[in-house]
């Protein structure tokens, strides 16, 4: 048994559409060990799905190599497929089928006997709260129910490695939280290695042991959320003033820390924000500058992304 679940080297995917070449993934070097929960974080179009599709044998890489669960994704596709679970961006269950039927046929596809597939389907129906809808046609299910059914489909064979592509996109906050709970539980109870993609910062932060930030097909950071925040972004101190005039005078007293000016607020970024604020306030006091509000925020992964790329992931996603 190897401890490396995923190893890629210089993994690259280029698409050519009407003579235009898109470099979806450029030279990705990844390593994921058994039992990790890793999030690929990046804006839309960063290359997250393409990476997952190469790792799950759905797309042949243009160049580079990838080994998943100990097997090459190009030359040993069947071995890879038998060992992984994949929950794609769409719905795994056919819309004209019934949920339970799909679970059973999925179990059969992974080599379970009919009886075992039925038992396993029932277990998953129970643990994912699908009892009320499992015998209905999939197209009549709500988005959240369908997503839970997708998760059940991906887990039918209790894979040692599970890929989830944007598991909670399009769900309302309550369903998202519910789904994240399931993922956490699965990880904790079965030690499943999980690789998920997301463009939700809080999701990556809450779920992942390790966050791999991808932008324009390139890996730009790879660490625990805590380390990323500590290394790439300090605390954010937001100062609000009553007038432009006060603000302008305050700009001269920021202890040499660069301040970003926006409306009536100044934003400073620095490590140890809580200790800095009293010093700042003393300086303003001595200069006779009135501050109407002060806020110190711990850095978020968005701050990390901003520090790394100069762009805000939150705004990218809204665009």
């Amino acid at each position: 048994m190897t401890d490396t679940m995923i190893r890629t080297s210089a993994l690259t995917k280029r698409f050519t559409v009407k003579k235009e070449t898109v470099e979806a993934v450029r030279g990705l070097d990844l390593r994921v060990t058994r039992g990790e929960m890793v999030a690929l974080l990046g804006p839309n179009g960063a290359g997250k799905s393409t990476t997952l599709r190469m790792l799950t044998t759905l797309l042949p890489p243009t160049s580079g190599e990838a080994e998943v669960a100990g097997f090459d994704v190009v030359t040993r596709q069947r071995e890879v497929r038998a060992r992984i679970g994949y929950i794609g961006q769409g719905n795994g269950a056919g819309h004209s089928q019934r949920g339970r039927d799909e679970l059973v046929s999925q179990g059969r596809a992974y080599g379970l006997s009919v009886a075992d597939a039925r038992t396993r389907a029932q277990e998953l129906i129970d643990s994912l709260d699908l009892g009320a809808v499992a015998d209905r046609v999939v197209s009549s299910l709500s988005g959240g129910q369908r997503r839970r059914l997708d998760i059940a489909m991906g887990l039918i064979h209790a894979p040692e490695l599970l890929f989830l592509d944007e598991p909670s996109t399009g769900l309302d906050p309550q369903n998202r939280a519910n789904l994240q709970e399931h993922v956490v539980r699965m990880h904790a109870e079965h030690g499943t290695t999980i690789v998920l993609t997301t463009h939700y910062l809080d999701e990556a932060d809450a779920l992942a042991d390790r966050v791999i930030v991808i932008d324009h097909g390139k890996l730009i950071a790879d660490d625990t959320p805590e380390r990323l925040k500590a290394d790439h972004a300090g605390d954010r101190i937001t100062l609000t003033f009553d007038s432009e005039d006060e603000l302008r005078r305050a700009e001269g007293h920021t202890l040499g820390i660069a301040a970003v000016h926006n409306g009536l607020t100044l934003t400073l970024r620095a490590a140890g924000g809580r200790h800095l604020v009293p010093k700042l306030m003393r300086g303003f006091d001595e200069a006779g500058v009135q501050v109407s509000a002060v806020e110190v925020a711990r850095p978020t992964l968005d701050d990390v992304f901003l520090a790394l790329t100069g762009r805000s992931l939150r705004e990218e996603n809204q665009a």
């Binding site: 044998t57 759905l58 795994g92 046929s105 999925q106």
Partner: protein, 242 residues
């Protein structure tokens, strides 16, 4: 491979079994022709001539449009899910194509049952005719799935090509009107259409002529289309990427 094909086959069949009436709703097209067109036929043709053609037509439209289901599954994501599963790729198309036999047989039996009260008299050779039809619909189904795979996410391409091909095949096979009286070029085109041979064979089988050259040609056409469809489909499915 047989194991995998069985899984795909039964998965495809399940919605039909759960809701058998859905099969009947998909056969309105030949019914319209039976009700609204066959009364216009000249005396000497009649139902004995017309019904075998209608049975082939129901296979052409039923199996021919089945790729639409796959296309839908390509869009929703369940096709991708099956591509990642350890199911052998050829099974994904063979199982699907084999499933076409079921609705085609149900349609055929219904068409026969409906027309008997109106004077249609199928000969026992019809059983052989249905067998031949089953082979053809596997081929047409596989071709339809291949077309779906080739259209990728452009649904309109699938429907445009499917419609553009189906109608000439229907008319040139002489399903609606005899080809024999037509101009030479039309007769020539008809000879290029594998369905023409099947229609001729079905007519003879349903009317009790079993060991004829036309029946042999029909069988050859059905087997040929099935072989071609499965070959193309298997190739396509092996290369399918998400």
């Amino acid at each position: 491979m047989i194991h995998d094909t069985t899984i795909v086959f039964s998965r495809e069949l399940r919605p039909v079994l759960r809701d058998p009436f859905s099969v009947i709703f998909t056969m309105v097209q030949p019914l319209f022709f039976l009700v609204l067109f066959s009364p216009l036929l000249p005396e000497e043709t009649g139902l004995q001539w017309f019904v075998p053609g209608m049975i082939v037509m129901s296979c052409l439209f039923g199996a021919g449009s089945t790729g639409g289901n796959l296309l839908f599954e390509m869009q929703t994501g369940s096709h991708e899910r099956m591509l990642v599963s350890p199911l052998r790729r050829p099974a994904l198309i063979v199982g699907r194509a084999l499933k076409e036999i079921v609705p085609t047989m149900v349609h055929s039996v219904l068409i026969i049952a409906i027309t008997i009260p109106f004077g249609f008299r199928p000969h026992a050779g019809a059983v052989l005719g249905l067998l031949m039809l089953a082979i053809m619909c596997v081929g047409l189904g596989a071709l339809s799935y291949s077309l779906a795979l080739a259209s990728k996410n452009k649904e309109w391409i699938f429907w445009a090509v499917q419609q553009t091909i189906s109608f000439p095949l229907l008319l040139l096979a002489g399903m609606l009107l005899p080809i024999e009286g037509g101009p030479a070029w039309l007769q020539f085109l008809s000879k290029l259409n594998p369905l023409s041979y099947l229609v001729n064979a079905e007519r003879e089988l349903f009317n009790g002529e079993v060991l004829t050259a036309n029946v042999g040609l029909g069988l050859l056409a059905a087997v040929g289309v099935a072989a071609l469809g499965l070959w193309v489909g298997t190739r396509q499915m092996r290369q399918a990427v998400a």
